[in-house]
Amino acid sequence: MIPVYISEKYVGEIESPTEFVRKVKSERRKGNLPTELNIFYDKEFGEIKIELSKGRVQRPLIVVENGKVLLTKNTIEKLGKELSWNDLVKQGVIEYLDASEEENAFIALNENDVTEKHTHLEISPLTILGICTSLIPYSNFGSSSRLIRGSKIQKQSLGLYSSNFLLRMDTDVSILHYPQVPIVRSFTSDIYPNKSFPAGQNIVIALMSYEGYNMQDAIIINKGSIQRGLFRSTFFRPYNTEELRYAGGLKDEVAIPDKEVKGYRSEKEYKYLEEDGIIFPEAKVDENDVLIGKISPPRFLGELEEFSIAANVRRESSTSVKQGESGVIDFVVISENEAGNRLVQLRMREQRMPELGDKFASRHGQKGVIGMVVPEENIPYSTNGIKPDIIFSPHSIPGRMTVSHIIEILGGKVGALSGKTIDGTTFDSTPEEELRKELLELGFREDGTEVMYNGMTGERFKTRIFIGNMYYLKLKYMVKNKLQTRASGKVQLLTRQPVEGKARGGGLRLGEMEKDCLVGHGASLLLKERFDSDKAIIYVCESCGMLGMYDYFKNKKKCSKCGSNVEITPIELSYAFKLLVDELKSLGINSKLNLEEKY
């Protein structure tokens, strides 16, 4: 007697389990039981589990009965016309299995492998891959680690991320100008809306070195191609501000600040604001230009009123373009948020052309940044006058074993020359031999190499260069988003050391190990200079060794313990050390400074 559980609940016992399971399955295939039902006979524990619960992942498979595949050529031909997918499911040709029923199934990968023992046939071997991975052409020729990288990279590529992007306020998004559908593509890209939302462009690529500027994954890009619009994109950045309400009935006000406002910038920075305090669309803005003028009430009510000459000074709290950014105002919305506050949102757009340091990748996990932008006249050319858009280093290939990358170039070349798309579906692609044959017929060398000439000297290269077309992706990491410089700027209140982070205009940290390098070189004065961002003049009482002060009002140096009749010397120290001395003092440790003549 074998117990039966339905959704983990004991319902009874049966005598012949195999027969029972067979019956349930056949009823399901007839359509008398729901397709979500899965049955699993656990021989080890001697129990039958019927699952109907939520949250199980099911996958479709073609049913095989007595070594015969139920999906015949005849039905395939009818598909899409008289028959639909749902009909196949209803007829029991296709059924959905969950993880537990899969344990009882014996699934053939290819139709030719089907034997009497098999219960199911995989719809396509491609189903072992996810969407992103199956988009990679010829991926069965690549190494698995590169496929993982390749599918990650595709998620970072710029393209048409959404068709209503003009109405959206997304942070950190870009739209690629003139995105293209890949020449070498897989079955998945035809069924998936990949075609309507392409994420890259087909470029001409040559595998060669170029003056060493493409070593270590860097790529060389043709300046002429950039000028013709290759990989141009538009970057969007939303800005928004809210009219907050404060205690006491006070409120922010979106308006052009007048000169009485505390923190008033300069007339020049407010020049784009219209009467309502908001910038107009299509204004060309630069860094620090004010986008939305805003005036806030004083921060601490009543505190300043007694002392301040101009009581109740309002503060300036406008939104301005971030440091290092510029663009055109694209879209302005005035609305209200959940709290009922007036909300002003706007979007800035900026055209980005590929530049030194922007990141690009093929679909095979081969990513790299631009190492040099070469003027078109200096780019190597083939006998036909073809100039590559991108020059890719051949050293990136052998160690990573991305054979798929090479085959795509070959396929891309055939596709571009013959004007058709090449099927690169994993496990089921146009064979390489066929590509070679076709290339030969098109009047090219079958291995894809061509005689090329040095663009700078016109000399012929001693070796033939592998050149072809491939689908390239522009990734969302662009130098313009990363670039930051600082000479001097904001410091932390406590330590007087520079603040951290790009958004705050922070400094770049010279860390412990970098310090060791300077020490190792004996560059002691350079080291001192690098660390003096928090230097301070400190007055030390030479009689008690504690910190004294300079009284600017009386123009006199004094020590709060010993008075002003003692020697008080100003010394230059890091403020951090003064802070340490103060903190030790608060711990009850008195540290004295004994001064000596240095030289």
Partner: protein, 384 residues
Amino acid sequence: MSATIYKDYENTLPKPILDNVKTLCSKYKLSDAKIKKTLEKTKEAYLKAQVEPGESIGIVTAESFGEPSTQMILRVFHFAGASEMNITVGLPRLIEIFDARKEPSTPMMEVYLEKKYATSPSKVKEIAEKIKGNTLEDVASEFLLNIMENKVEIKLSRNKMQELNLNSKDISDIIVNSLKTVSVEQDRDNIILKPESKTNKLSDLYKLKEKSKDIHVSGVKKITQVFPMKINDDEYVIYCSGSNLKEVFEIEGVDSTRTKSNNIFETAAILGIEAARQTIIEETLKVLEEQGLNIDIRHIMLLADTMTRSGGIRGTTRTGITKEKESVLARASFETPIRHLVNASLIGEKDPLSSVVENVMLNQAIPLGTGLPGLMAKMKEKKK
């Protein structure tokens, strides 16, 4: 004639270099003038090789170790279980040496033998057997717990005893000597241990069983395995896992001038601190060589000198050489700052600000490199 030329250089050049020049010059029969020129060039090269004043050798040493060891981390466990003798290598061993751990995780010894013993395989084997330490576990075939009668029964193995030239009586005597408060009965090859205490605790009985397993019966203590190996043409060396220099030296035929251990503390206790310094250098070199790293020996020597200069061995830890630092601030900047600051304030320590870290903290020029020399101005005397 030429002897006088050499004499002039005795103070500037070290003896081995001078001797080398001497032999080479006489080999090529150089004239006096040429000898002089050679010596002058040698002197120049020698002075050039010296470290300049203000060179930050400590930092350079640290960087020389730090950079390649970051690469070593990735390769540490590659050798796990590869050979019969499992030796700690790579970064773990390097950390063990530099932290001056009392006991290495895999103690090892290389036992060299005197000339007349080293060449004959049979004699080498004999000594090796003498060296190998055996415990009761090695000669017993079975340990049984008799819970009913509260006793441990040990069955000895005839064959194993014969191999070690022992009999049951000897072993029972050894047990009597090493276990107290236990009564030992011997009946042919069976030994019965009975705790004399009246408490019939099972855990005590179990402890007795485990304790009796480790009773040392013959050979040198702590040495678990011996591997005689041929090193060159016909000389044999015995590699041992486990280290016990003192007892090994007492065995006849062992060459105590060449035998060495990888236990730094043991070497220091038996052979002295200079030997320990040499052990640190050799063990470090061994690890680096194995990893295919090339660090100049002078860096390792500096480290070994620093670790042993006090006469004892101090690791590069907060309780070792860092504790020796003169500056309070420098010590506080490296691990457990509060303890260092509080302890310094208790005794009113003074920080002379004479080293690197404390000057970086105060944003002063560090006394190294360009910050080392001070400026002295020669003032014109006023005419009276």
